[in-house]
Amino acid sequence: MEGFILVKQGAEARLYQGTYLGRPVIVKERFVKNYRHKHLDDTLTKERMKSETKAIVRCKSVGIPTPMIFLVDFNRRMIFMEHLMHSMVLKDYIEQTPLDILFQLSILIGVTLGKMHEGNIIHGDLTSSNMLLVNKHNKDEFLDLNELKLVLIDFGLAHVDPSAEDKGVDLYVLERALLSTHAITEKIFPKIMEGYQESYSTGYKEVFAKYKEVRARGRKRTMIG
């Protein structure tokens, strides 16, 4: 990996930054997890690289911004993708942005997720770490929402499924991830649902019913010491 620098070690992969075919790229290396049995590690890694690329391509086809993919290399366990230079992770953005802007943003998040689910794409790991806000004009400014687009990343656990159940679980996973990370969740989550309903009017009713069911299952779960 000459000319590439390690920028982050996430839970599943190391991220390197560099240039490929003259473009700035991020290389996502799903390195060998030594704690895992080799057979299991190989199977999971291959599965997830496939899921990730498939879901990203499918997202493009339904009009959801995702990073472009340049190369998938199973032998080196690497995906080369577009480096979104002027971006901020939603997790950090939420903590430093006034509430009125967050309300607008939440609608946008909901609209995006609604579109994704309408295309039967289940993300599988929606958190505020897996959404990026990218400045459309290559500037490091993030105050005006009209200047930003919302980009979804980390599709390693994604799959395609038309069922309301999986979509409901997807929303529940997001709610839980937000609740545990951001104090403001209770205010913004209803806005996300509002945007979701707006963009996915045909499936909203059924998915929302499933989401409530999944949530009740979680909250009422008996926990025996």
Binding site: Q9, G10, A11, E12, K33, N34, Y35, R36, H37, H39, L40, T43, L44, K91, G124, D125, L126, T127, S129, L157, V169, V173, R176, A177, L179, S180, T181, A183, R217, G218, R219, K220, R221, T222, M223, I224, G225
Partner: protein, 335 residues
């Protein structure tokens, strides 16, 4: 100086612990063990606790050389757990508290595990993996609560192990999980099993159904019980380590604490340790004395609550089978 008496009996372990400002004075325990192929049921478990509780209390008092009048507060497990065993032990706690004229505090069982783990290992602000027969949760502290980042969406990891032990008719003495761990050490052929992670949540019921349906035919095909135990451990522990790592990355944390009965499994500790090493984090774990349900964990959490001013009215000293970790405000943590 605060001396706390703690009662625990939410499942098949009955424990009474006495702690004095973080120093453990006594922590005896008795386990209700069922025959191979059988699990423990509420009625029989409660009966076991009823028969043994005074004996264990006497043991704790003798061992600690504490007299009842030195005790400052009596604590018991309020939940979560099995109803009948919880109620049995709570009645004893209420009775001695009134006999000796002491205040009473109901403690969340999961918080007990976490505070015990923090006390024993010295972990400051760890991401906690809580794994037992009834619970599987990934927890991190934020804004005055232990927040649940991930959990099982169906059965607990320990329940999955226990029930697999029943399929193989393994002994429940000292515990089914321990016997699976020993068998797994002799296995080496990996049998692929379903792997189920959803974000930070996990699911074990599919793996169990898979094994319930196929164990017989897998054994006939020449796989050994040892191989199956080995493969099961490899798969379910990989799921737990993966989701813990996800939470760790999400919270930018660098400490992991494993608590709960399954937490004393050395293979789980080894895998978690390997993951921690790869990302420069530290693993904290304890052995069976503190991982497995015990009285001192209830006393220690009660100690923290009592010291930070929590008091409980007699009318609130009931038990509840459903009591989520994030319902408790952690008055004792100021970070």
């Amino acid at each position: 100086m605060v001396i706390v008496l703690g009662f625990e009996g939410s499942a098949n372990k009955l424990g009474v612990g006495i702690i004095k400002d973080g120093v453990i004075l006594a922590n005896p325990r008795k386990t209700y063990i069922t025959p191979p192929g059988e699990g423990f049921l509420p009625k029989e478990t409660a009966q076991h606790h009823r028969e043994k509780v005074l004996e264990v209390l006497r043991l704790a008092l003798n061992e600690s050389e504490v007299t009842p009048n030195e005790i400052d507060v009596v604590c018991y497990t309020k939940g979560p757990g099995m109803g009948a065993p919880l109620a049995t032990v709570a009645i004893v706690a209420r009775t001695v508290a009134q006999l000796w004229n002491k205040p009473i505090l109901g403690v969340n069982h999961c918080i007990g595990h976490i505070e015990m783990g923090r006390l024993i290992t010295g972990a400051k602000n760890p991401t906690v993996l809580y794994v037992s027969g009834g619970n599987t949760q990934i927890i991190a502290y934020a804004r005055k609560r232990y927040r649940i980042f991930g959990e099982t969406i169906d059965i607990a990891v320990g329940n999955c192990l226990d029930r697999f032990a029943r399929i193989l008719k393994l002994s429940n003495d000292p515990s089914p999980g321990y016997n699976i761990e020993q068998m797994a050490k002799k296995g080496y052929n990996f049998v692929p099993l379903p792997y189920c992670v959803k974000g930070m949540d996990v699911s074990f019921s599919g793996i169990l159904s898979f094994l319930e349906e196929r164990t017989k035919s897998l054994l006939e095909q020449g796989h050994t019980s040892e191989d199956l135990c080995f493969s099961l451990q490899e798969v379910i522990f990989a799921m737990l380590v993966e989701t813990t790592e996800r939470a760790l990355a999400h919270c930018n944390s660098n400490e992991v604490l494993i608590v709960g009965g399954v937490g004393c499994n050395l293979r789980l500790q080894e895998m978690m340790g390997e993951m921690c090493k790869e990302r420069g984090a530290t693993l904290f774990a304890t052995d069976e004395r503190f991982c497995i349900d015990n009285g001192v964990m209830i006393a220690q959490a009660g100690y923290e609550m009592f010291k930070s001013g929590t008091r409980m009215a007699w009318k609130d000293s009931y038990v509840t089978q459903r009591f989520r970790t994030d319902e408790v405000e952690t008055t004792w943590r100021t970070d």
